[in-house]
Symmetry: C2
Subunit: 408 residues, 2 copies
């Protein structure tokens, strides 16, 4: 599994003052907006959080009114105070440009939305000693809260097996499969991380307080949401994209037909990361969703940890990966991104108005998409306009992405 | 599911005397050879059983010595007596050219061998009132003898469901999945047929005497082997090709990694008929073989009868089938058959020596393969030599095959 060509948002050396300003702006915007709100994500990706915050504060809503709700509440925030409070609780806020930023989530920038959620997180709140960039070798194990004993047994075994191989298990904090996956990894002496749909200082469900405290003490508990914020249904949907985007692949162990785990599966598929399903008895509702995924060809059937490791590339398979890696990166672009990318000439560069005409997309949108494609390493801008970035050039992001960065 | 372009061996009106001579010869050869022996099958397909029998009797072995073992024992047979005896037991011997001959098994003529078995049967011994041509709408349900309660429950449910839709269930007569599939179909008031690896007058396993007698009284018990002959391991392998070739698709419910059901699955795959696998708990050995089939993409995961019916074309899907039907027929040819077929010109006809040179296959072999391809409707012979049979001609076998012949 190769992560797509997407580096930190700002590849230039970071000015500490500018970077701190960006961090504070991201705290403020994150506290006002909902995670994965495509309007906010898109503006921040284009202008940077500090600029968006400043424009909103000056009542010059860069979203042309659509962010009026955020702007109105901006003065109620005090991000510096919030960061301090978090720090006292042992919680840090990691943003793009930080050393430990998990670059693999940046692929969300060019990935189609799902249920109106999408885009990379503004930042990730972390409680625990583990660095987020260590998650580049990780596997998501997700599934039903109301799992059967069969399901929790198998999830525990898979969690243990991949953890023994040095992979970090990533899951939510629900009863059932999530819990079993964490326990399996812990029992094997391996690493496991919980991603929450609420602040990392909260315990939801409350009965998992001890598990979450243990993970925070030894591993990491992660959330897009600021400390104190409560879980809601929509926040679970947003959270699921983080689980899929942090990991090299997602394993679904038991999921009824309307299970939230299938939402995580949808994100893994959108990201073109390996999606795996563990089958079970056909006469239990808990396996129905998994069987549907396998039946329609969205997920590969797996029966044990070895097969998971094989698919996420832990068995020397990364030797075969480069070609697929590059295809995947392009495939994972949303329709409009692909449309613009197709319109950029391969040879001599073109200006954005010409590209916009070819793509059949408005000039402003085309410019904004071009800037995102530039950050993701697909195109570059120089004298004469935009052109496709040469994947064979030695310093190309697309090229770099073809070398799997494995941590173990 | 469309059966491939293969009609009776002799499409001309059958002379009753000639046909009876052929029947007796097939009885004799069948009693001496092993079912699915490619040497015998190939000679009979080319020359007809009567000619092969006569040549063997005259000690002019058409197999140039390879059939010496058969020839030596030829005088010990008395096929007329054997047919009479069978008739007294209520057993008939159905051969190509008979009204009830199940033409779908002729596809075996051009299908690659498996474990050195292959080719259509010389004939099928039948005990029971059901006509074999009614099996054109049938589904094989096979699996482990040492099935779990889970497996037998699901096999019974699937047998019942497809039988209620008017499909005939086809299976062996073993304990476990075979038994459960028959019982499911019977309980639903549907039809089910057992194909044996021994004579249809025998009960193997002995404890299934009552089940087999019931099937013989109301449905049909079928075998390639003459009455009285005993089951052997190799005969089970030959039998499995008949189960796969009689049916529109094969469902595997529980099969350990070395289960015989996987051999039946192999035949279904070679015949390009839908191969389906029912998943189960990953921690039971009985489902391992099925999971492997699904995992490597050989079988489609199915969880209930409706999904089986969908795949064998019972839900209006036959409207989409013609195009695939023709492709499948060609795909199912063995490598050498395809090689010869590719060498036959599309336009003006060519003589077999020219085709042999193009195909890079010896003249004798090329001629024999051409005759088989002719019988299967792929090529035709006229003045000027061999040419591809026009699939769009009104009386073409290839064309005819595109109209699914459904019984219900």
């Amino acid at each position: 599994m190769t992560f797509p060509p997407a580096g930190p948002v700002d590849p230039a050396p970071v000015d500490p003052v500018v970077h701190q300003r960006e961090r504070l702006a991201r705290v403020a915007l994150g506290e006002l907006g909902e995670p994965g709100d495509p309007r906010l994500v898109s503006l921040v990706a284009e202008l940077g959080a500090a600029t968006v915050r400043d424009l909103l504060a000056a009542e010059r809503d860069p979203g042309r009114g659509v962010l009026a709700d955020v702007a109105a509440r901006l003065e109620t925030t005090n991000p510096a105070r919030d960061l301090e409070r978090a720090e006292r609780l042992g919680i840090r806020f990691v943003i793009p440009g930080d050393d430990e930023w998990p670059a693999q989530v940046d692929q969300l920038m060019t990935t189609e939305t799902l249920h109106d959620r999408g885009g990379p997180p503004l930042g990730l709140w972390v409680r625990g000693p583990m660095r987020l960039d260590e998650l580049d070798a990780s596997v998501a194990v997700v599934g039903s809260r109301s799992a059967t004993t069969y399901g929790t047994t198998v999830a525990g075994e898979i969690g243990a097996r991949v953890a023994r191989e040095g992979y970090t298990v990533v899951s939510g904090a629900a009863f059932g499969i999530d819990q079993a996956a964490h326990r399996g990894a812990l029992a094997a002496g391996g690493r496991t991380v919980a991603v929450l749909a609420c602040g990392v200082d909260r315990a939801y469900p409350a009965r998992h307080r001890a598990l979450l405290d243990h993970l925070a003490a030894t591993m990491a508990v992660v959330s897009e949401l600021a400390p104190g914020r409560a879980p809601t249904r929509i926040r679970f949907l947003s959270r699921n994209r983080i689980i899929a985007a942090l990991t090299r692949g997602t394993v679904v162990v038991e999921a009824a037909v309307r299970s939230g785990a299938l939402n995580t599966a949808g994100w893994a598929a959108r990201l073109h990361r390996p999606l795996m399903g563990v089958p079970g008895p056909v006469n239990t509702a808990q396996s129905e969703g998994v069987h549907q995924l396998v039946r329609k060809g969205a997920a590969t059937l797996v029966t044990r940890g070895e097969e998971v490791l094989e698919l996420v590339g832990a068995s020397g398979h990364h030797l075969d990966e480069p070609r697929r890696g590059r295809t995947h990166a392009r495939d994972s672009l949303s329709g409009r991104h692909q449309q613009v990318l197709e319109a950029v000439p391969l040879g001599s560069p073109a200006h954005s108005d010409s590209i916009a005409r070819t793509a059949g997309i408005g000039l402003l949108d085309t410019r904004s998409i071009l800037r995102r494609l530039e950050r993701a390493g697909f195109v570059e801008h120089g004298t004469g306009g935009w052109r496709i970035r040469d994947a064979d050039a030695p310093d190309s992001a697309a090229k770099t992405s073809e070398v799997p960065t494995m941590n173990t």
